[in-house]
């Protein structure tokens, strides 16, 4: 059976010019051409709507920094096409097979931070048959997920800098507000960071973990302890915890910036390679991070700030992006693939809907110490409902013929 159900997503066909090192040869001829101008402060796409089918975006860098161009899925997270490393004054092409749906275009001059000029891009018309080339689909999924990891790391660095600046300056109120927000990028790609053995302990170890392994307690949670010192004193009454002085704050702040910068460098190095299995197993690992005894579900991750629901939501988002990258592949695996994707679509939606009853990033989530045991049980039950079928994804993607 080679009839794949067509999806309202944008699939790439050998389009990742810089990553694959080759220009697509089977779609360029008939492709609709759309010009993109990446300027110093905007990302101007010639037209905001297009009919489904092959589209070639010609991205011209008229700014003065090296730029990147991304097409994001409706969640504004998952990358469905991207072109990197466009030098000033240079143009590069990105060709995609556009399926009907809503997307977002964004440029990233300087290749770091949130990007700018994010605009809606709407594709209308009928769905387009996908390629039956499994290898191509796998390569695309890996390339897009790799680009996503890089994007998250590149957003993480300036966010952490802003947070550390506030903290170092003694602006406790602002630092407390930023703490859960700057962790989002990290929590979305946590298993990737853990792949670099020495970085996660420095960036994200909890106090008991650092002490158990006899390493200095640094990173996010060291600063968290300082920001919510009263909570920390109540939790560890015998330890005589004291506030860090300005020099101490500067030391742990600079260390955190250095460590997330090292993470950025690692994922942007040529050695950074992911496989399909890394993506599917990484999705499962992200959910395991939530339910772990020292994780978010028991409220142990942010034991002083009680901002666990932000991390919870970010872990789920990260898992959903990973899943989204291989969803088309899974869907092509017969009845098993159709059943599994239908279940995962439903359970991801239920998980996020349930979490959203507690807030969102913009308005804030409630502090987790206000969530009672019965409510936590329901969160845990829904997490099980999602995790159990997700554990089959690796098999469906890698172990079942299409």
């Amino acid at each position: 059976m080679k009839h794949r159900r067509l999806l309202p997503t944008l699939a790439t066909t050998g389009t990742l010019v810089m990553l694959t090192g080759c220009v697509p040869n089977n779609t360029g001829a008939d492709a609709l051409a759309i010009a993109v101008n990446s300027t110093a402060d905007d990302c101007i796409v010639d037209t905001a709507t297009a009919a489904s089918g092959p589209i070639t975006f010609t991205v011209t860098n008229s700014g003065d920094k090296i730029t990147e161009f991304y097409i994001l899925a409706e969640d504004k997270l998952r990358i469905v096409g991207e072109v990197e490393n466009i030098a000033a004054g240079v143009s590069r092409d990105l060709t995609v097979i556009a399926q009907p749906g809503t997307y977002y275009t964004v440029c990233k001059p300087g290749m770091i931070g949130d990007g700018l000029g994010q605009n809606t891009f709407t594709v209308t018309g009928e769905s387009v048959a996908l390629s039956d080339n499994d290898q191509q689909a796998a390569d695309d999924a890996v390339a897009n997920y790799t680009a996503y990891v890089k994007t998250q790391a590149s957003e993480l660095v300036p966010h952490v800098q802003e947070f550390v600046d506030a903290y170092t300056a003694g602006d406790v109120k602002k630092a407390r507000e930023l703490f859960p927000i700057v962790r989002i990028n990290y929590e979305r790609i946590e298993p990737t960071a853990e792949q670099f053995g020495d970085l996660d302990p420095k960036i994200d170890y909890r106090k008991p973990g650092a002490e158990a392994e006899g390493i200095p307690f640094t990173g996010f949670h060291r600063i968290e302890m300082d920001l919510w010192l009263d909570e920390a004193k109540a939790r560890y009454p015998e330890e005589n915890l004291t506030a860090l002085d300005p020099a101490g704050r500067r030391t742990v702040g600079e260390q955190l910036v250095a460590d997330v910068t090292a993470l950025y460098d690692d994922v942007h190095s040529a050695d950074f390679q992911l496989t399909l299995g890394d993506i599917t197993n990484g999705a499962i690992s992200l959910l395991d991070e939530i339910s772990a005894p020292d994780g978010k579900l028991p409220g142990e991750e942010n034991e002083f700030g009680h901002t666990d629901l932000y991390d919870f939501y970010a872990n789920v988002e990260g898992a959903e992006v990973a899943y989204g990258n291989v969803r088309d592949i899974a869907l092509g695996k017969g009845q098993e693939g159709e059943d599994l994707t239908a279940t995962l679509d439903k359970q991801f939606a239920r998980m996020k809907t349930l979490l959203e009853t507690y807030g969102n990033y913009d308005d804030g989530f409630v502090f987790y110490n206000t969530v009672d045991q019965e409510a936590r049980n329901v969160l845990g039950a829904q997490l099980n409902a999602l995790s159990e079928p997700l554990a089959s994804l690796t098999h469906t993607v890698l172990g079942v013929g299409s």
Partner: protein, 450 residues
Amino acid sequence: MTTPADIPPTTPTDPSSAAPTPAADPSPPAKGTPSGLSRRGLLGLLGVSATAGFVGGVASVAAAVPRSDSPSVAESYEFYGKNQAGIVTPAQDRLFFASYDMLPTATREDLIELLQDWTFAASRLTQGLDVSETGAVGGSPLLPPDDTGEALGLPASGLTLTFGLGPTLFTAADGTDRYGIADRQPTELRELPLFAFDILEEAQSGGDLCIQACANDPQVALHAIRNLSRIAFGRAHIRWSQLGFGRTSSTSTAQATPRNLFGFKDGTANIMAEDHAAVTRSVWADASGDRGWMAGGTYLVTRKIHMTIETWDRARLEEQENIFGRDKGEGAPLSGTKEFDSPNFDAVRSDGGPAIPVNSHVHLAHPNNNKGAQILRRGYNYVDGNNGLGQLNAGLFFISFQRSPEQFIRIQKKLATDALNEYIRHVGSALFAVPPGCASGGYIGEGLFT
């Protein structure tokens, strides 16, 4: 995928027999091919809900391998039958009991499929099989195994799985009819009233659904609950659970009377499976009234009864015996000499007082003093470690079956003056309707949805 094969459904247990028939008697299913299996269970593990319906219990299980080459015949009980097993079945030594709540997102279809999946899994587990065909080690190396595997190599060990439906399944606490079955709720299926000396904990009480797993090997009982809980993910989740060891009641005249943690024989005057008249009169619900779907079912009460072990152990022997109304060694009523002597409540001591004190447990609980009310007790001892004061968290996980909760309520109200109350506290309470058994191809609780 499984190909349905023409395995005819087995004959349901003889309706005239109240007791489940051991698998080998009279016509056991061929080894490794228990009837009534479908592929739904495996799909259930995936949480797939939309597509395949319940296949009518006729799928092939040719690849299934029993966990033991030769489970002795006494070690497995037929799952299908007029009544559910685990009620008049001779009480096994071990218990794992779990209470579940439905997820807020679960639908009527989810509930039906859950009961179908549980039925499918139970029909395999009770025969000593893995939870699905591929089981613990027969699946893809890229997949988590269907079966959790800790019972590999263990026989069925007399495992019975008994399913119950709580009042909140029919009408939620906020009054909503979540699954369109509120009009089928038996009038007697209501939260039990509060009794004297209750200090109930919400987290150890109630529940939408329950499963009683009894076996002669605790690992087999655990394995069943663990796998059934996993199948329930996305539809129901554990609200509370209880491990029990050491049955505290006999339910067959072939069994010796065991002792509870107070050191006394318990269940001497219990309803015995062999007493068909008593079982029919006091245990099985009939089709009377407007709840025909409960015919052949029963009502299950659980009470987690904490015992203040340390203070009891300091009580004088004569006080202990007066509290129970029996002697500690033989278990005889204080009016007699042998365990099975009928208590004589008119007997007097040399000092003129009643031989069996009027506030003794035996006196208050006896049918003669409760308008004939009798219940089938099937409880277990438990120890949940200790508290921070070095005292054992121990007691009796009381289970009783009765044709109406009123039987339990009447006796429990009578026990308000029980001298035993000084040494016990009821900390958990639940009531469930136990539907009748089902035939191969059906599922537990099906009468509710037809």
